[in-house]
Amino acid sequence: MSDKPLTAKERLAIERTHMPEQPAEKRARNFSEVNLGLAEAAAIEEAKRCLLCKNRPCVQGCPVGVRIPEFLERIAAGDLRGAAEILRADNALPATTGRVCPQEKQCEAKCIRGLKGEPVAVGWLERFVADWADENLAPPSAPKTKTGFRVAVVGSGPGGLTAAGELARLGHDVTVFEALHAPGGVLRYGIPEFRLPKAIVDREVSNLEALGVKIECNVIVGKTLTVAEILREFDACFIANGAGLPVFLHVPGENLKGVYSANEYLTRVNLMGAYKPEGRTPIARGAIAVVFGGGNTAMDAVRTAKRLGSTRAILAYRRGRDEMPARAEEIKHAEEEGIEFMFLLAPLEILGNDDGWVRAVRLQRMELGAPDASGRRRPVPIPGSEFELAADIIVVAVGTRANPLLTATCPDLKLNKWGNIEIDANGMTSIPGVFAGGDIVRGGATVILAMGDGKTAAASIDRYLRENKVARG
């Protein structure tokens, strides 16, 4: 191989690499990560597919503007350290986003190579560099000079962690308050081990601690501490408490034994380790699991049910395949693992047996009508199409909403009609010095958007402190 830069023609001749995976048969019975990661040679070869476009369309597809061609160019040159430095500067949790971003709708959707053939595998390369950096580079260290300002962050999901990291880098004294017993938010309790190993969340968290961020778990803001109390101790506050309120179907039989919200089902498995032999928290298992929903959460729940031993793990969605909001890769993986997809169905009633356990669900077939507010065609019921489907476990994964626990105790915080916190262009709420971002502002969104909010808010908080506050020293 010559050291001369490749010509466009040579680059175009390279085919997209394949991500090595655990075989579907095997992985459908374990909780280890599905994707095994690219080998260095494959990553370098893939990076060479990048045409280093001058107008960088891929960067516009990334909500945090990762300098994609720049880091790909470094990989192609075999300079992984250089690639890692660019990536780490732009993205606080690259090992996570490389795994969970919906790349096919973001960076890779805009990649010029996708117009004719397959886009550059930006997500896989991001993951590759992040994993390499975590193994080979020293964790970031705390800045030498401190500003003397104290900032509290509420919630340790991707939004809170990103803000905390940025603020610590700027020399502020940051404390994160987390309601649960372990940090990470949805990365910890929602997204399963087979998609995002918890060791990665642990590593991202310890990198932040190396920056001087303090994380205090078991603090429920609104209960243990109020926002008003926080403002007495801290100079500013960033609220990123997520959208952790489960939505139920509101059909009869929903309180039968064996019916779970996705939040409960996934929390028992991921946060509490119900799948591990040593885990103490129980989870009900059954031969037939039916999951309602079509997003990432539904996909995670149905694939979890399969791994917990269900012989039939069925995803029932009220719209069609094309309307499913889940990541494309998850849909593909689920299909390979033998997940059954049933489209255009809505639950009418959950039926129980004599001891109060789920036995079946009565469903109605739907057809797609005119587009609704979201632009997707609205499902409408087909009369007379009702039928019964046997089920032992039911998981409801039809969305989440803003959890009112914090906001209810802070009446000065202006909310919209869905209970989400309203912010101005700088990310500040109706309370001076209190900023917010992530799912509590957007409703259920994505990891990278929450991180983007954390980053923007950190910059605004920094400005706010310097302009409005006197350091406590």
């Binding site: 309601a179 429920i220 243990t224 139920f248 034994k257 028992r268 885990g279 001891d355 489907l389 626990l405």
Partner: protein, 282 residues
């Protein structure tokens, strides 16, 4: 880590533990609870804050060891640690001035009742406390309750202390007597006891507050596992409760859901053996 400062046995399998948890101690109000997790891989166990000392930064828990989770917690000696104590959770008791109030505690429910009864008495109510246990050694907190109750009545199933029988028999007499009939009843104990009491008070129109203990995970309204039907609506006991109007609660559903992990909840092996997994396959 939360240090255990004291651990003493109140009754067979019932321990009183004092734990250092300064933030909880400061914020706590009667009726609220904490979620305790002893160590890695342990369950999250909801426990009522029986008492708190904001000055000393301590809370008191009264715990009945019923299953593995609670057995492990009460086995932690003074000087040992609980990995996680999160709270205070749940709504505080709405303390009203009713006048005459009867507080009924069954078994370890008496521990949950204790802070409510105390707060009711402090608010100037005339509190009669009625507590039941299997036998004399299971009756807890009698002296503590006596310190602020006008009267403490005791029932035991074997008659070894107080009246022989159930608390419902004594409550029935109180309700039937117009001169003793309270304006409100607070009942905390096993679900069948609370259901029976709600049924008893309904014909008299006596306001009845019960404290529910469904299975919980997070305690913050995130999982919905603690959902109960109250007045035909879904409520999350951890955030909307744990206290509810006993006349509105669907106790049968609560009892069923509480049993989720008591029975054969891993029905998979049995089903597969019966070949159910193949049923209905397209």
């Amino acid at each position: 880590m939360f240090e255990v400062l004291r651990n003493e046995t109140l009754a067979p399998q019932v321990h009183r533990m004092v734990v250092r948890a300064p933030r909880v101690a400061k914020a706590r109000q009667p009726g609220q609870f904490v979620i305790v997790r002893l160590g890695e891989e342990h369950e999250r166990i909801p426990l009522t804050i029986a008492d708190a000392d904001a000055q000393a930064g301590t809370i008191t828990l009264i715990i009945q060891a019923v299953g593995q989770g609670t057995k492990d917690i009460v086995a932690t000696p003074a000087g040992g640690h609980l990995r996680d104590v999160a709270g205070p959770l749940g709504k505080a008791t709405e303390i009203e001035k009713f006048g005459k109030v009867v507080c009924v505690g069954g078994g370890v429910g008496t521990a949950v009742l204790f802070p409510l009864a105390k707060a009711l008495a402090e608010a100037g109510n005339d509190v009669v406390t009625l507590i039941g246990g299997r036998s004399a050694s299971y009756v807890i907190l009698r002296d503590e309750l006596a310190s602020f109750s006008r009267e403490v009545l005791v029932t035991t199933e074997d008659g070894s202390l107080g009246v022989k029988g159930f608390v419902t028999a004594v409550l029935g007499e109180i309700l039937a007597d117009a001169s003793r009939r309270p304006a409100a009843v607070y009942a905390v104990g096993p679900v069948p006891m609370m259901a029976a009491i709600a049924k008893q008070t309904r014909p008299y129109g006596v306001k009845t507050i019960v404290s529910l203990n469904p299975i919980m995970v997070d305690g913050t309204g995130m999982c919905g596992g603690c959902r109960v039907t109250v007045g035909g609506e879904i409520k999350f006991a951890c955030v909307d409760g744990p206290e509810f109007d006993g006349h509105e609660v669907d106790f049968a559903e609560l009892a069923a859901r509480q049993g989720t992990y008591k029975e054969d909840y891993c029905r998979l092996d049995a089903q597969l053996a019966r070949g159910k997994g193949k049923e209905g396959r397209p």
